[in-house]
């Protein structure tokens, strides 16, 4: 199987700003990868490009050898930072919606996860707290059998117990043909779940290495290294 993501000289400019600058990146399948960088580093731009929400200014981006489009969207599962589900829908409606449009959606898995987190499927999205909405979205995204998962701040707004559950879900969802990209600020919490990390700064990739290689080489945690590298 080909690499799940390939970026070749990928560049994205917005009038005066270069958000991504000649990025070369290859991600193999079967990894959980941390995309780490400060705000404005180009993280969100890269994720949007992967999901076809932006078009490259220059260079190429290939997902499983295809350019972003209808075909790539079938195999990419995206969890944005915001609440993107219509607030008038019930949780059960959102499950029906995902099942309707995504062939790889597992309805039973979604309902199992709802039950485990004690979430009521009959509730409307607008009645849920922010943290609960995020849990619902995560359940929908992880109930798909995708080849590439893009999770943007998946544990940001949730309590520690839910955080553990989410990380457990991510680990147990692991399979050799899929890759999970996690973009987050909460590095310390997810460090052991990752096997690779990417540091991104000013639109360029400054580091792409395995967690253990970094710990062996630097003798410190990724979190510590990050703070050093991105010191203000």
């Amino acid at each position: 199987m080909s690499a799940i993501l390939e970026c070749k000289s990928l560049t994205k400019k917005f009038s005066s700003l270069t958000a991504l600058d000649n990025v070369d990146l290859t991600l193999e399948r079967g990894h959980i990868i941390g995309l780490l960088g400060p705000n404005g580093s180009g993280k969100t731009t890269l994720i949007k490009l992967i999901n076809g929400l932006l078009v490259p200014s220059n260079g190429k981006l290939l997902i499983d050898g295809k350019e972003p489009g209808t075909e790539s969207k079938k195999i990419v599962s995206y969890l944005p930072e915001k609440t993107y589900l219509p607030d008038w829908m019930r949780v059960s409606d959102t499950i029906d919606f995902f099942e309707d449009f995504y062939e790889d959606f597992d309805r039973k898995k979604a309902y199992d996860m709802l039950k485990r987190l004690q979430l009521d499927p009959t509730k409307r999205m607008k009645t849920l707290s922010k943290g609960t909405k995020e849990k619902v979205q995560l359940i929908l995204v992880m109930s798909r059998d995708a080849d590439l998962y893009c999770l943007d701040e998946p544990i940001g707004g949730v309590d520690p117990a839910a955080r553990d559950y989410i990380l457990n879900t991510i680990i147990s969802n692991y399979n050799e043909k899929a890759t999970i990209i996690i973009s987050t600020h909460l590095i310390a919490d997810v460090e052991t779940v990752l096997d690779e990390v990417i540091f991104i700064k000013n639109g360029k990739i400054t580091l792409h290495s395995s967690v253990d290689d970094i710990r062996t080489k630097e003798g410190k945690s990724i979190d510590t290294l990050f703070r050093e590298v991105f010191k203000c």
Partner: protein, 261 residues
Amino acid sequence: MLSKLFKHEMRACARLLLPIFLILILLALLDRIVLGLDIFDGSLKVIPVFITVAFIFANIAVGFVTFILIIVRFYKNLISDEGYLMFTLPVKASQLIHSKLIASIIWLLSSVAVIFGSLSFTFGTLDGASEFWDGVKTSWVQFTQEYGNDARMFFAEIILIIFIGIVCSILQIYASVAIGQLVNGHKILGAFGAYVALYTIMQIACTIALVIAGLAFKGNYDDLGMVTAIVMPVTALFTLIFTVIFYFITVILFNRKLNLE
């Protein structure tokens, strides 16, 4: 995929529109009953008047709300946070537009039908009503006799122009939203500005085209002939051209220049 998008679109609009249609129908029923009763005397006459006025306003409101809903729905579902959901579905941007366009046309026509139906139902049996309809029939007969084929062409063209006009208006709104979302932080303002700009351009272009066509075809037409042979076809053609332009503006901007958040 298109049918699924269409189904969801219809459902989302039905949530708001069906209750409103129902209220209008109930008001129609109420007003008809109230107008049929003859028991209001003196100051109580305020009641039927009030109900009738409310009913008329309700009709206007239904038309208004349907129109506003089409605009708001397009913006909310594609440009606000929900856009992250819709544009990452494995569908083409054009399919998103098609599903909303078709649903919008259906709901718009439905609202017209409901308004027309409720007005006929409530006022149709009143004393003046049958005289009104007799008058309309007489005018129609006179009109067709005087102008023959031209009259039929006239009405056919009117219907066509109205339909193209509806589609054009909807796509004009869509294109305005597509242009407006390019402006960071002021997407709604941008949409309004774009709408005004598009409207102005369209009016100017259409006027110019009509003037040119009028000058070019200095034929032997009487007034209605001129209208059916030149004014209406040119208007229809122009509206059609702009409809296509608005469509492509929307599709191309969504495909290449999507600017969510």
